[in-house]
Symmetry: D2
Subunit: 404 residues, 4 copies
């Protein structure tokens, strides 16, 4: 069978992967044509003739090459099958990546909307779109296999330029100050482009004493949405009202006797006020990060977890709803910055198309690795003390910008 691809096949390593994929599946190839781009910006074009001992092997190869952006010269439409039970896909469904994808329907290639990982593609009256398993409804037509599916290979790396160095490895022996500077530049560029910057933050931002620095960023319009868990808000309110976080004094760094009570008092205060907005309105919450978020009207979602105390009335304990809200707030994002939270970082990584840059700041190199492992291929890990990094970042961004 003859396959063809076109694009930056060499520098993105696609051709190598393709040849590997053929032989790994048990097939063999001949290179029928190969036109390499003669200059930097010219695309290459390759035509492969592939042989396989069985139709099953050939089907595997076809799937694999399809995922790399190869197509068969004799193009065919996608196969589809109707959903028979709400929330369940037909057998053999195609499961999406986070790369830009097109499907061929009625002889025409169409872009898939709301691209994300681990979804199925539904085609029908409107544009083809990614749909989560649980959102499937009886009668919708779901794409099967790889036929008629074209994935745009990932050439992102080439474009990342000076920002790319962060992805070269996961190491703490890097110049964190420079990384803060480069991230600030990317942040400004994203705002200039009219895209959103979404921050996903863990409680370390508060424990490390950087809630006010972060609040400053919020007040100056740098943050378009805040995604977090219950703990970030709880400890921020605890720090703002009682001067401790998890019972440790923000002034002296010393544990306060019975300090573990403080976060419960903070929770109770917000519960009594009916939520964070109520607490701000009633003058019970006068400073800190969540105060800034509420006052600045920055949209936020606090997603619940099994370890949550309370929770705050603002915390969404129904995770289906929380995922919907996260997804909605991420729409239009050009840059997502994860500060010290593996849980919410992975959650967000699952929801994003590959075109969104995801920066993950964590003191634990395993966290960054884990995000990258899960296929969030554009995760740029920064292994450093998240608290000190927020301080550096706030300094870089301060006084220089406004909301996009």
């Amino acid at each position: 069978m003859r396959f063809e691809a076109r694009g930056h096949l060499i520098d993105a390593g696609i051709l190598g992967k393709a040849l590997d994929a053929v032989t790994a599946a048990g097939g063999s190839y001949e290179v029928a044509h190969f036109d390499i781009g003669r200059h930097t910006d010219e695309p290459s074009r390759v035509v492969l003739d592939v042989s396989a001992a069985s139709p099953r092997t050939m089907r595997t190869i076809e799937d694999n090459l399809g995922a790399l952006g190869f197509s068969t010269p004799v193009e065919s439409d996608v196969e589809t099958k109707a959903v028979r039970k709400d929330g369940v896909a037909p057998d053999g469904f195609y499961s999406t990546t986070n790369l830009p994808t097109r499907v061929r329907v009625d002889g025409r290639w169409r872009d898939v909307k709301t691209q994300r990982m681990d979804a199925v593609i539904v085609v029908g009256d409107g544009a083809p779109a990614c749909v989560k398993l649980r959102d499937l409804r009886r009668g919708q037509r779901v794409v099967l296999g790889h036929r008629g599916v074209a994935v745009t290979p990932d050439t992102h790396e080439r474009e990342a330029s000076d920002f790319a160095f962060m992805s070269s490895d996961v190491s703490s022996e890097r110049r964190s100050e420079m990384q803060a500077k480069l991230l600030a530049e990317r942040w400004r560029a994203t705002k200039r482009d009219g895209k959103k910057v979404v921050v996903v933050a863990g409680p370390v931002v508060v424990h490390s004493g950087q809630a006010d620095a972060f609040a400053g960023l919020v007040r100056r319009g740098w943050v378009d949405a805040l995604l977090a868990g219950n703990a970030l808000a709880v400890h921020d309110v605890e720090a703002a009202t009682l001067g401790t976080s998890l019972g440790v004094s923000q002034d002296t760094g010393q544990p306060v006797v019975h300090g573990h009570m403080n976060h419960m008092r903070a929770i109770n205060l917000v519960r009594g006020a009916g939520g964070l907005k109520g607490a701000v309105r009633k003058g019970l919450l006068k400073r800190g990060l969540m105060h800034a978020v509420v006052e600045s009207g920055v949209p936020y979602c606090l997603a619940g977890s099994i370890r949550d105390d309370g929770p705050l009335p603002d915390t969404e304990m129904d995770l289906v709803a929380a995922q919907e809200r996260y997804t909605k707030l991420l729409r239009g994002a050009g840059l997502v910055v994860v500060l010290g939270t593996m849980l919410h970082g992975i959650g967000v990584g699952n929801m994003l198309p590959a075109s969104v840059t995801l920066v993950c700041v964590d003191i634990n190199p395993a966290v960054a690795s884990k995000l990258a492992d899960r296929g969030s291929s554009h995760t740029l890990p920064i292994v450093t003390d998240a608290g000190l990094f927020v301080a550096s970042l706030a300094k870089e961004l301060s006084g220089k910008a406004r909301r996009g």
Copy 2:
């Protein structure tokens, strides 16, 4: 004011903490009486006369000494106040620890039921009990401050004997084989005592190829309840039906091309069957950990998280319900073993009284530290490869025991 305490004041370090607590709060003390136990098992008794410059300081000292198990010779009942709004405690509420606690009501000391951290104490017609903020109902009477509250000091360490070494530090340079052996002994002893052993497991148990070893423990009756997240079950079903976990072959350890699709297919399979029990009943799921859990009738709860794909129909995405179910399954536990999951481990730690031993097995020393930091004082950390540890543990327990 005169305070008195009785018990293992020296070897559990309580007397030292008490003297510190007085001076740290700005008070001073004289030791009025001190009778030290003359033999190993005799309790000591101390009477302190404490002075403080202000009533506020004295109140702080009173609170602090109360938490350490001291009482004023002139005993008084707890102060209480009624809940005025569902889910919100009155100001000044007492927030619980996980240590055994008694409250004095109507001149009588009574044990607090369902002891756990971060709850309030409700007194009324029945026995005093720990209640979570969100479960408070209008009209319930909540204990304020520390007056009339007596916490039994934590003397657990003394009793732990040979098992205690695990708590000495958080280090990977320990003899994991011996730790597996000691844990197995403790496991057997717990079953002999008629108490439950509850396992809290992360997906590393499956990724590391130990699902079958763990399933064997389940089948032989060693596990009384399984608490986990969506991912454990998803990857177990993926491994049982497609031979991969997160797309990595269980046989060769190599990533399978398009293997990321497999966990979605596993999810879809279970969704189609209406849940894990359905999948077992219909013969779609024939092996692995969840198969063993279903067949053995071991109760389980899969608590949702923001990063979950699918989820499985069995996964509880309403976290209030999930916390209730976790709490219920933990009732009667004497030993809880956490395998490679910080998230669910902390969740469980919050729910347990201090008398339950919590063993946390993780390759990352920071995870064990974090559990201990949160006041789960009886967490025994084992820093090792969770997969290899399960294999060792299964070998230790195999052939030697049955459900208690």
Copy 3:
């Protein structure tokens, strides 16, 4: 047998440890007398009557209580035995801790000089002194067993006051900015007291771009000695002369093509000049940390290791000589700050008496744990990005001080 101790027996936990030591060894005790200090600053006094089934058990108990600062009312001199072979101690030698120690010779208690861990005590014409095994010479008299040896219990913790919080746990979720501030205060206090501050630094200080910040501290007289390995100096010279560290550009953070050659060129440059001083004198090395060290006349020692390239002529590849030089430079130190190097940090920890505060800054919590495990009991771990921490520290110390 009757034992007696006096001091802060309660708040330093010594009495509890003593009672444990007796029962752990198989003995039993009665408390004959116990006078507790009635006020904060009064010492306590305890007399124990200990029974044991065998002389061997009693000897073990005697040893154990001796190490905790207990003495038998009938005091006896140390037993000694002469060295028969250079570098080899007689059987049964007493091996030292890093705590202040006295020995009874000719009926008189005398302080042991140059206290350090893992040495033997030699008594003779001069004052008793710690001597390393390899430095023993034929004929020297070495202390055997614990008889006549009194160790001053470790009550350091009580005194550490506000600085102590760092030792409470090994966690990255701390306010690193505050820790930098507190360390700066301690640093200033040490200089005011006329004691030395010695810095032990790994190459991360250079890789993270903080060589100039650190050089500023050196130039302003904050550093009394620098202990490091070959790599710190190599990468500092590489950065100062070629603008890269380990081949990564200090300006852009990007790896330079063939950049791995640069550290070899840096080594060759220094070799050609006969050493760092020569390189400075010849004008080949004009900036950076080692330039500051040389120009400021700060004494330094670069200790070799098996992984060293080159090495620089300044690097001491004879480790016996390197250990001697380290020990000499540490004499008179009141504060030792370890920045990102486990190897040299442990080396230094072994050489110090317990009275010297050892602060260990590392992004890896296991490093700090490891130092503490080895008995460097006054190690205060700071888990953070060493580069950003140096920047914070330099800011705290800048403009405010001069060499003591």
Copy 4:
């Protein structure tokens, strides 16, 4: 200028890197010819015409392409310059990688002997060879720049087949049992090929209670040389003679009172016997790893470090001598297994040509990353508990083999 390369240019990613290198340096290219291998095993061939604005840029490009295995069709000999001072290379010297390298001398391409990283190439009467800076002698001719130097690109990855999965990422969520099995297979294959297997071990092997398991491998001829530090041998002797390692009982896992003395007694015992061989001969050392090593006649080197106590007479404290000995023992190795020691692992990594497989077993993912970072490109990291891994490995290798 016209450049040409031949080989597996696509699947090893070399062509992509080459095009990047040209544009990164500021040049531009046209692809004059490109013949892609039509089948899996056919080499490709490419000819590039490169333009650059300045001779300096062109020189950089020439260097870069040279390192990737490109040559100019008009070949030239290497440039050389004589050493003028012992131990110092002439300016502009070529610094080696660990990849197979050829140099063109007198019109003939010749292989460079004793390939290793960070050396210079000396040409003269004999074959061209890698020489360390410190071993250079006045008058030797050293290669300058990249002209006439051809590096064979790294195509190792392709060949690694099933063993390769280990290198795919640094993660602890892998099936360690399978990794032990695959390593055992590679180990057997290496012996069958008549190559040496060298083990580099840290003290964790003893602390984790696996000294006997490891000793069994030694006795059965699986280990051709042992490279380690002082601590491995000290704690092994401590365990063999006193039953503790670092004062922790091997039987109970509990710290022994005054147990820190034990390692000093172990050191003294060996010092008294004049070394490990003496201790074995005199019957003082009757079991454990070092006993097995001595009895089996396996060559070993214990390299000193700044943190060493004692040291043992066997420990080489002169690191120049230790590096020579390490290098010598590594000659002929086909597989090097590093168990729980970053220090010695990096030391060994620096000494090896790229053709030797280096497996690094460590519980800390940062250790494996660090080895890979330093250009030890064939490092296969296994993130697991080194102790449990040795147990698995010993089981895999036991009863199935003998020395090759």
